[in-house]
């Protein structure tokens, strides 16, 4: 009979400590030297030195001051009425305010591996993390917002907002903006996680905000489209615009317009795509869609794309619509629909193509000019597939716990170690600095990088 052993600190230390004679092998230093010689270093800041946090704050303030000064001067001199600009960054869901899934990249090539993962307080749905200046921001269904170092996966801060979060967040001008299931819209300090302001909507907020000229546009299941000052949370106008139905997806912005899809899964709900003027808050156009919830609009090359019929119990084929972004005129002779009766979601719009993913497990690639089917690929996802495009590659997440990569010109899926399997169903990817950063249904944020030759790993099937 064996005597149960006592697991003392000394016993653990003794067992886990490698033998003292274990040393780095002789060739390791040489291997590192060779690999370093072949690796370009990240470019240092334009300052030429690594500034302290206080110096950085001071420099940023000075830079912001200069920019404001230059902008005011420019407006005074030119006196023009250019449409308000938006932030072309990964500061929000699906790559930026146009929500077209085009990412700054570069994406990982070669053999993929998990660089780090970070445990959160709850699962993450279909939304993507925001990555701003080396910090990953993510909201989870446990009701927490977490800021993580992009390089190491180390947690910088975590904020409990007190209710589940079911949308992506948006980072702008030092503030993280996100709504929760209790109907509270939070303005949170980027550097500390402290609450800067709170605004109460009349129902849950499942809509990632779009920022235009210091105003956060964010929708609620109460059907209202709120326009709040990013710095203070003060409403831009006394009364928000009201849609015909709940707003359950992210708001898009481009060229001075705000695009909002509204609808509802209850019979009788009216579904529409609306466009508002960002400078006046007035409705510019609205187009009816099929019954059901409406997807996040995606804007690209003067067109806005949206799918309808989401979350509705229906065996009908669901549609992908295309409209002129300025006038709302339909851009195609008829909407595109897959004949499967399954939901369609826009993965990305790039290079004149709409990558629309069906919950029948197929990605349909549609000509953005005509609405005709160009090619298809199997992605084996039945819930909420999503994607990001970098150059000629589209990275697709699927709920069979995989990340796929396709070469767009050849339509071929990368072989070798792709598709890459991960733990949990992935959300929407954010692709920056050679990494794919994804939240999962297991409540983790994962950073995937690649190593080795891209040509060997990216071989055709």
């Amino acid at each position: 009979m064996s005597i149960p052993m006592r697991l003392t600190d000394d016993a653990i230390r003794l067992a886990l400590t490698p033998a003292p004679e274990i040393r780095a092998p002789a060739g390791l230093a040489d291997g590192i030297r060779m690999a370093v010689a072949a690796t370009p270093q990240r470019r240092r800041s334009i300052l030429g030195f690594a500034p302290s946090p206080w110096t950085r704050i001071a420099l940023r303030l000075a830079l912001v001051g200069l920019l404001v000064f230059a902008l005011v001067g420019l407006l005074l001199v030119v006196g023009s009425k250019h449409p308000p600009s938006t932030l072309p960054t990964t500061n929000t869901y699906h790559g930026g305010p146009e929500r077209n899934g085009v990412m700054p990249g570069p994406g990982p090539t070669g053999v993929p591996s998990v660089e780090w993962h970070h445990d959160l307080q709850g699962p993450i749905g279909a939304w993507s993390p925001a990555v701003v200046e080396g910090v990953v921001f993510v909201a989870d269904q446990g009701g927490f917002i977490t800021a993580i170092d992009e390089l190491t996966g180390r947690q910088l801060w975590q904020k409990n907002v007190g209710a589940p979060i079911n949308s992506g967040l948006t980072v702008a001008s030092g503030v993280v903006i996100v709504g929760d299931d209790a109907g509270l819209i939070h303005g949170i300090e980027v550097t500390t996680g402290g609450e800067r302001w709170l605004y109460r909507a009349r129902a849950a907020v499942h809509s990632a905000a779009a920022i235009v000229d210091g105003v956060a546009w964010i929708g609620s299941l109460d059907g209202a489209l709120y326009a709040l000052d990013v710095q203070s949370g003060t409403p831009r106008w006394p009364v928000p615009a009201i849609s015909a139905g709940p707003i359950s997806r992210a708001i898009a912005a481009s060229g001075g317009f705000i695009y909002v899809g509204s609808g509802g899964a209850t019979p009788g709900d009216v579904a529409t795509l609306q466009a508002y003027d960002a400078s006046t808050g007035l409705l510019r156009w609205a187009e009816p869609l099929e019954p059901g919830n409406t997807s996040t609009p995606s804007v690209s090359s003067g067109r806005v794309f949206v799918t309808g019929g989401l979350d509705a119990t229906s065996t009908l084929a669901h549609d992908l619509y295309a409209f002129d972004a300025s006038t709302g005129e339909t851009a195609w002779p008829a909407p595109f629909h897959a004949r499967t009766g399954k939901s369609l979601l826009i993965g990305a719009v790039a290079d004149g193509l709409v990558f629309v993913e069906s919950t029948d497990g197929t990605m349909y690639v549609v000509d953005a000019a005509t609405g005709s089917l160009d090619w298809t690929a199997e992605i084996h996802s039945t819930q909420a597939p999503s994607a990001g495009v970098v150059g000629g590659t589209i990275y697709v997440t699927s709920d069979d716990r995989k990340v796929h990569a396709f070469d767009i010109p050849s339509h071929q899926e990368w072989g070798g170690s792709w598709p890459f399997a991960i733990d949990g169903a992935p959300g929407s990817p954010t692709i920056v600095d050679g990494r794919i950063i994804i939240g999962t249904s297991y409540g983790q944020v994962i950073s995937i990088t690649g190593a080795g030759s891209s040509s060997s790993a990216a071989s055709s099937p």
Partner: protein, 193 residues
Amino acid sequence: MAARAERSVGTREDELLERAASGDRDAFDALIGPRLDRLYRMAVAITRSEADARDAIQDACVLAWRELPRLREHAKFDSWLSQIAVNAARGVVRKTGRARVRELSSDAEAEAGRARAEAVRPSETDTFADSNAIQRAFGRLDETTRALLVLHYVEGSPLADIARATGSPLGTVKWRLSNARRALEKALEAERR
């Protein structure tokens, strides 16, 4: 005198970091060289495989080289580098599979382990057998739990330092360490069944 020597070391490190961050590969080599054994042993402790540890440390050093210009506080270089190495080792464990059995089982290693066991606890004859059981149990743990146990028990990192390195509250680290230890106990029970 000692203070002056410390300042001199600090200044030299700062110079090396500054030069390495500006693209000087020799300076980076001079920074990594003295730290290589410690990093390697830490990776061996997590991966339980010398081959995996070698891959992990090479990846970690290349990543550190690439990202060094973004390190804003030179004083944090060691904890930053350790964190990258821990992540790389965890990544290798994750990639090669959690159920991987410890590979450090050569005769020389076994002999060294026996000698260490005798040196530490000469009166307990079953220490070496227990160490082997703990090592096998450790091999059953996930990469995150392994990393935490190694940081605490092998590296001797104080909990407050681990909390700072992981950005977690001290209470959370204590709770995770307690869970990690419980997981090791459970794995050990499974090993001895």
